[in-house]
Structures are given as structure tokens and as C-alpha cells.
Symmetry: C2
Subunit: 189 residues, 2 copies
Amino acid sequence: MGQIKVEKNVGGIEGLAVITPTVHGDDRGYFMETYNENDMKEAGFDINFVQDNQSSSTKGVLRGLHFQKHFPQCKLVRAVRGDVFDVAVDLRSDSKTYGKWYGVELTAENKKQFLIPEGFAHGFLVLSDEAEFCYKVNDFWHPNDEGGMAWNDPEIGIKWPHVTGSYPGNADASGYALDDGTKLTLSDR
Amino acid sequence: MGQIKVEKNVGGIEGLAVITPTVHGDDRGYFMETYNENDMKEAGFDINFVQDNQSSSTKGVLRGLHFQKHFPQCKLVRAVRGDVFDVAVDLRSDSKTYGKWYGVELTAENKKQFLIPEGFAHGFLVLSDEAEFCYKVNDFWHPNDEGGMAWNDPEIGIKWPHVTGSYPGNADASGYALDDGTKLTLSDR
Ligand SMILES: Cc1cn([C@H]2C[C@H](O)[C@@H](COP(=O)(O)OP(=O)(O)O[C@H]3OC[C@@H](O)[C@H](O)[C@H]3O)O2)c(=O)[nH]c1=O
Ligand SMILES: Cc1cn([C@H]2C[C@H](O)[C@@H](COP(=O)(O)OP(=O)(O)O[C@H]3OC[C@@H](O)[C@H](O)[C@H]3O)O2)c(=O)[nH]c1=O
């Protein structure tokens, strides 16, 4: 039926895509297909998603950056409530854009979805008071296979929006924080 | 990993199930797997979902009852925001419980999911000011194949909760309303 708008290779990184579904509004509210295997195949994405996840987090929470080493996951991510800044870092050893990152604001309102192929680190920062985040993955969770990298790794240099204080760039100050439990202070937007 | 609780054959209707995922809460909020193909297979459900839908509706909106005639859909439904009363009606001609209905309250808080096999009519009534509803289906949308039945069909006799006025039972009064655009008046809960 072709109900998606697809922006391919966003940020000049091959394989990263931003997908926007068609929203059918009426008196009752709205309806949208948030995933359609045929539409995805037509767009060139033949992916077998096997697990769906949902997390809820408060403002300033940064989940990530995560990846699985031997069981890499392709992810299709979106916000169902609130706003997040979502980031993928290219860790594909054979990639021309190895080490490059791309970020996109995903909100319940813009309904954008971010497609992140296997071989990337992924994470997101919650910009609204609360955010509910949903995503599909094409391989199961392998806790012992998980890898993490610092959200503020100076060699990657991700520009997380609205973060106040010594960040970014001030890697000396407090060192940089790996992974879980990171909660940042955000300025007003 | 076995992260779901499964209640099978709810309402005495074979194949209907209520599924509750494990919620992992922590300082940041929570995380849950809302779908895991392996867990489902272990529970005896080998279903190939190909499309995900999301709709938003205001209080009193009743979406349904719908089914596809030649391309029946198995559905796995849940509320991601607000509360709905979700109903399935057994229309399987060879079923011992043909014509029987079962309803369950699905809320963002109870995180329950309702698994409805092929051969059922399905619909839901929004009980909260707004509700956001997500579901997976195992066949695509075939608009020309759609069937509908009245939410207040007296032969089925669904007891929709909190509905005020001439309903239920008063089928004489205004006749009964088929399908789309139904908006009911609800009493306080
Ligand atoms: C990823 C995952 C986690 N869990 C459990 C383990 C913990 O009890 C709880 C939270 O796990 P975390 O790894 O801390 O979750 P989170 O920080 O949200 O990580 C996720 O967010 C960023 C995503 O990039 C990444 O895929 C995923 O690891 O959920 C599961 O049961 N299944 C899973 O698939
Ligand atoms: C079901 C469906 C609908 N649409 C479009 C058609 C309309 O423009 C709009 C709304 O369609 P409706 O059929 O009116 O949606 P709704 O009343 O929400 O019906 C749904 O809710 C109850 C569910 O039981 C049923 O599967 C589904 O038909 O969305 C799609 O693009 N794809 C779909 O899969």
C-alpha cells in the first residue's frame, strides 16, 4: 500500500534511515500502520524482527550506548510518548563512516522512526518529563554479549542537545560515563 | 527467557489468551519485552506477525466490531496509553463456542495483551479520556474484505461496561449501530 515516507542514508551513513508513517486522522482520533512488512520490503528493507521492546524513562535519562557483539541487532525505534534524542554510532569495521554518529529527535508527535542496521551502537536521551520508547529488534537479547560505550566519548563527539554543565567537550572534568544509570541535567528547551 | 505469563482459553473460548509481560522497573523507569517470538513459541503460539498498528481515540469511541472474511487476522492487542475494554466474538463456524464473546480491560497500567486468533470479530471501547492502542496482525489489511457487526447485536449480547442510556437490551429504541463512528456516552467509573 506504500504508506511510509523513507529517508535513506541519513547523515551520509549508509543503511541508516528515517521512516515516517502515514497518519489517518478522523473524528475518533487517528490510525496508523507503525510497521508493514510489505512496505518495508518495497523500500528495500527485508528484515525479520523477532522481538519488540518498550521502556519508559524520565527526563535526562540516557539509555545507551549499547550494542551486541556477536548477535548484532538491527533496530527500528520510535517514541510513543514524549520526546527523545536518538543516536546511532557506526561501528562497522568495514564502513567508510566508521565512528561517525547521527542523531534525530523522535517524538510521539512527529511519529518518526529510526532504522538502525546491525553494527551500530545505539542510545537515546529523554528530553521530555517522561518518554515511552518502543522498538523492534531482529535478534534476541543476549545479556552476556552486550557491549557499551560512553555517551560522551570524546573521539565520537556526539552533540547531545540541551545538556547543561561541564558537558560537552570537558572530558577531563568528571571523566566520561559509560552506560547504565546515566542521568543528565537538561536546560529548558 | 520466559518473560510472559499466559492465561489460555480465557472465557472458556479456545485459542483466546491473555498475556502479561514481565516489567523490569528501576530508577530510570521500566523496561519490558512487549513481544518475543521465542516466548510465544514456547507458549504454543507460532504466529507470523507482518503488520503493527496504532490508533488513538477519545472516551466513548468504539472501534469495531471488525473482521476480515477471506484474509482473517490473528491479533495481539494492548493499550499503551489509557484504558480500553477489548472484546472478541467467536465467529468460527466449527467452534463449540460460536457466537460467544469475551471482554477484558486492557490498560497502559496493567500492560495486559489480548491474543485473538483468526476467525473472531474484534473491537474495543475507550474508557479513559484518551487511549492509544497498539496491535500486531498476521495478515495485511484488505479493505475490500472487511466485515463488521454491531457492537450491540442482541444475539451476541456483549456487556460493554459503563455505557449509560438506553443500552443495553433496548434494541428497539434506536436499532443497533454497525461499526464505524460509534461514540457512546459513558458513566463515571
Ligand atoms: C535489552 C533487554 C533488557 N532486558 C531487561 C534487563 C534489565 O532487567 C532491564 C533493563 O535492561 P537494560 O539493558 O538496562 O535496558 P536499557 O538501558 O533500556 O537498554 C536498551 O536501551 C537502549 C538500546 O539501544 C538497547 O538495545 C537496549 O539495551 O530489562 C530484557 O529482559 N530484555 C532485553 O531485550
Ligand atoms: C485497519 C487499517 C486501516 N487503515 C486506514 C483506513 C482508514 O483511513 C483508517 C482507519 O481505518 P478503520 O478501519 O476505520 O480503523 P479502525 O476503526 O480503528 O479499525 C480497526 O480497529 C478495530 C480492529 O479490530 C480492526 O482490526 C481494525 O479494523 O486507517 C490502514 O491504512 N491500514 C489498516 O490496516
